[in-house]
Assembly symmetry: C2
Homo-oligomer: 319 residues x 2
């Protein structure tokens, strides 16, 4: 079935001017064989902005657009076609009747990035394939060299190098301005549902805290952190249902256990404050083999359907 | 009128593995307040790939998909919504019946980038607003501080800072592998029409030379270079019509005159070899005020229509 698309477009949001001065000029050969030219490196630059692309449907069935927020060292490509070439969640949720916004957070992808140490405090980290393999739970520690994935994994292991082409450098010093840009995105879009992955989880939780009447729900897939609930008035979120989605092979992973301790503490505090904080624990529901990227695993449609069923249940679809 | 979209998706193409070894590990605090962790900086990394996103129509009227290739220091966002919030050429050509692929070349946007000097030979150049203002012919030399644009400019001058949010770092050392990735894109897509901007022009001209039976036409908007025709067998391009589109305020600009000398020499050689090499010189046609970015100027729809008329004339639309 073709999608009936009202419009497709994009924008940058957030950010501000940064002026650099007193830096030495730089000599460069821009075209092979040409004489070197000298370029000033001083000047005005935009920094801190993020990028979002939207596809709006002619007849959406959902009450609010869906904002898909990727994780650390990744871009909005997370949500697009999967590394195995099959449709991802952008496509799935469009076909399910949602307007969909796919964004690149500050410092990544089409958001652009700024020089360091002049504007960003530090240099980025380049995540190796080994680090991705272990952190994203494709296989257990030590299994990268032989590419021995977890038995029964649903990640397209033979497309792992294709997946690695999506990986972008990440900084450790930009959480504050990244949140500011996400908050500006929510403000620009208006009433919306935020679906996050990994590092995006903490940004999504905070976006809801910062705009509890605008963010209508938060779906956090494998979040790598959550706010400290101490001293927060979480009763503001009684109208903002939260859903947590967890993949497989988390139990023996001290790294992820530490992340999830924060997440479960935050969700517990939400429940104590009278909020909805549901969990889809895939292996507990009998669905084994999901990696850190359920939206790229072979059962991505089935996991999307579980999220969709929850969205319907909490009233996010039109009657 | 809603678009009837068959599918929307994306992929990375090209690139290869690079293995780094013998580099010192790095200590980083990834989460504020947490203890620093030590990360190896060695390992395997993908490098050299590019990114493309496609929107395919249920009933395309064009014979071949349109590949939109941006210029230096920019990404595919060039072709999307304009800095003034109005629809850009991605949207316009979709509505005109073309399947449209918008890509980010190697080193930019969602293509990702690699560390230097370990993988890329050199550091990138960060283009300041002043450099953009002058190079992109928003205003004459010296006019940036007061933002005194060319009289009658059609560029949305009050949205220049919004435009500047699109700008990404550019390298001067990656032309070779960027061409390789573009050639891989053409090979993956198959028969296609390439529409380029600025630095993309040279890549588009070479892509046609490298695959003259696959690239069905080249539309170069304000190209910043072209191949040296000496020794090339251009008769291979007799089935590949070329179109050059030029904006305003080029005459007094030594920088652009030098670029265009190469371009006109190449197009002249194409004509000598019996190829179609047409020119839409906008000011010569009485259309004044276009900047280096006609796809962002206020008359972008009218310029697109001129390109569309040419495409129809050279037989790129279905009967």
């Amino acid at each position: 079935m073709p999608l009936k698309v009202k419009d497709i477009g994009s924008f940058h949001v957030g950010g501000h001017n940064a002026t650099l001065s007193g830096l030495p000029p730089r000599s460069m050969v821009l075209t092979k064989g040409a004489a070197p030219r000298t370029f000033p490196t001083d000047g005005d630059f935009e920094t801190g902005q993020m990028y979002a692309q939207y596809v709006r449907l002619a007849d959406p069935k959902a009450r609010y657009p869906l904002l898909l927020w990727h994780g650390g060292g990744m871009t909005g490509v997370t949500w697009e076609t999967k590394p195995d070439g099959q449709p991802g969640w952008q496509s799935w949720f469009l076909h399910a009747g949602h307007d969909v916004f796919v964004s690149d957070a500050m410092e990544r992808g089409r958001a652009s990035w700024s020089r360091f140490p002049e504007i960003y405090a530090d240099a980025p980290h380049f995540r190796s394939k080994l680090e991705s393999w272990e952190l994203f739970r494709i296989g257990p520690p030590g299994s990268y060299p032989a590419r021995q994935a977890f038995p029964g994994t649903l990640f397209p292991v033979d497309r792992f190098d294709q997946f690695a082409k999506q990986v972008v450098p990440r900084w450790a010093c930009n959480d504050g301005p990244t949140q500011v840009a996400y908050d500006a995105l929510v403000d620009k879009v208006g009433p919306c549902v935020v679906v996050t992955h990994s590092q995006g989880g903490n940004f999504g939780y905070n976006a809801a805290l910062n705009a509890p009447s605008v963010v209508k729900a938060v779906v956090a897939v494998e979040p790598s952190g959550a706010p400290n609930p101490d001293g927060l008035d979480l009763s503001l979120l009684r109208t903002v249902p939260h859903l947590l989605v967890l993949g497989d092979n988390l139990d023996d992973n001290p790294h992820w256990q530490a992340y999830l301790k924060q997440v479960h503490r935050y969700l517990g505090a939400l429940r104590d404050a009278g909020c909805i904080a549901d969990v889809i624990d895939l292996p507990a529901a009998g669905i084994r083999g999901n990696s850190h990227f359920p939206m790229m695993d072979s059962n991505s449609d089935a996991v999307a359907q579980l999220v969709q069923d929850w969205m319907t249940r909490v009233g996010l679809m039109r009657d």
